[in-house]
Amino acid sequence: MMNRRVAIVGYAQSRHQYDMQQTREDMVFDVAKGALKDAGIGREDVDTVITASTDFLDGRTISNVFLSMAVGAYLKDESKVEEDGAFAALYALMRILSGNHDIALVEGHTQASVFNPHQVSSFTFDPTFDRQIGLLNDVSTAAIQARMYMNGYDVSEEQIAGVSVKNLANAANNPNAQRKMPDITVEEVLSSKLYYDPIRELTISPSSDGACALVLASEEKAKEITDNPVWIEGVGSCQDSYIRDRDLLKIGSLQIAAEKAYKMAGISDPFAELDVLEISEKFAHEELMGYEALSLCREGRGKVLVEEGITEKYGEVPVNPSGGALAADPICATGLIRIVEAAKQIREEADGYQIPDVYKALAHGQFGACAQKNVVFILGGE
């Protein structure tokens, strides 16, 4: 249980695209200003600011050096996390729960067009062994995991491609998505460029420029600010071992993060109780593995949920009606965007891809090779 209720009271995101043609500072400024405007507050009302970016992805050390101004953080409590913005949201929540702050601004961004993020991922592996051998990056390790999952649970490439078909078609209705493919077919996914078998261009999330910002407030402030707060009812975070010493047949840290979040939110049957989920599937097979880790189905049965349309927009448990990470992946913003998309569903603002009657939603962020670290939020309306 949380000792204080905390709500999402405002947010903004960019139109994610391959090349934004905008400086990083301007892109960040736009979403920070947009989120404050959405909340109906000024930067003087913000007590604490947390941003998310990485030095490697931004191509400079102390990557937030010129961003404090863009997020209105001068002379305020401010820090940066080198991971997904969904973790920044977790730390902002903790700051409010501490009682020392009432309003927090959270921002995450990446401009992946600046430098190939898959190359960047290769620098996150063990420098004395794996990097010397030089085979590992986020795509090659995902391929090894996908192959293991396919063999372990008799999952076909077609079933994995089904995730891309669902999400990229969903993205067609999301104005902020980058990869919109309303008429995409399984055949089209399976004939897209093969990178590391079985991973193909259309089963990898695209490289995107994008940013997202979120305003969190304590219960007292939230009620002053908005008539439509989205409450954080549960949260859980978990980190797993380095890839050499991890069971890749499941996403164990996501399972633990979800269990913590469900317990805090009082959820005993996620399949029945969640109205929509927004998850960070950096690769199509990760969504199937995610269903299992989130206890929507038993291990190895994720394929059935996609095949039977259960996670389609019209299904019993819609997953990624926004298109998910496969539709746009501005890396350090991606999980934060999932939180915003889940909140939009609760506030009935998802024009064109609104799921009817959303009271409870799940949002998920991840970081690291083969989803090493995961955070899960459970959101609820009034």
């Binding site: 430098f115 190939n116 898959h118 190359q119 290769s122 004395t128 062994f129 794996d130 010397q132 051998i133 085979l135 590992l136 990056n137 090659s140 390790t141 391929a143 090894i144 995991q145 996908a146 192959r147 293991m148 063999n151 093969l194 990178y195 590391y196 078998d197 079985p198 991973i199 071992s241 380095y242 890839i243 050499r244 010493d245 890749l248």
Partner: protein
């Protein structure tokens, strides 16, 4: 790690076996990541160089270090290998096999360079076989 690399000159692959929980790391570690027991020289254990292919991918591209994916004329196999007696998985090239013939669960063994010098490159690749 230094000892591990030096021993490769003698065609020996060292792991470290945790005396408390039994987990065996390769390459060796100085502390067990599972139970936090300190691991030292006395916990080093020689591994056979043979193991199971637990998963793999056939690479059709590779990164050039400068942010470009280069298309490979000949696909390359990257294997996830559990060496006999080890709990860690290592990721190494698999050669001497048609990529289409690679199967999960295959037995593989290390192929050493002709002249081993005590560097990672002494382990050239793994090939099917062993046992």
């Amino acid at each position: 790690m230094e000892r591990f690399i030096k021993e490769l000159a003698k065609k020996r692959i060292l792991g470290s076996k945790c005396p408390n929980c039994g987990y065996t790391y390769v390459p060796p570690r100085s502390r067990c990541g599972k139970c936090y027991t300190k691991l030292g020289e006395e916990n080093l254990t020689e591994l056979s160089g043979k193991g199971d292919l637990v998963s793999y991918t056939v690479a059709h591209v590779e990164l050039d270090g400068h942010g470009n994916f280069l298309d490979l004329g000949e696909p390359k196999v990257i294997g996830a290998i559990k060496l006999e007696g080890a709990d860690s998985t290592i990721f190494m090239p698999i050669k001497e096999i048609d990529p289409k013939e690679v199967k999960e669960g295959m037995k593989v063994e290390v192929v050493w360079g002709e002249e081993t010098k005590g560097e990672l490159a002494d382990m050239k690749y793994f090939k099917p076989g062993g046992r």
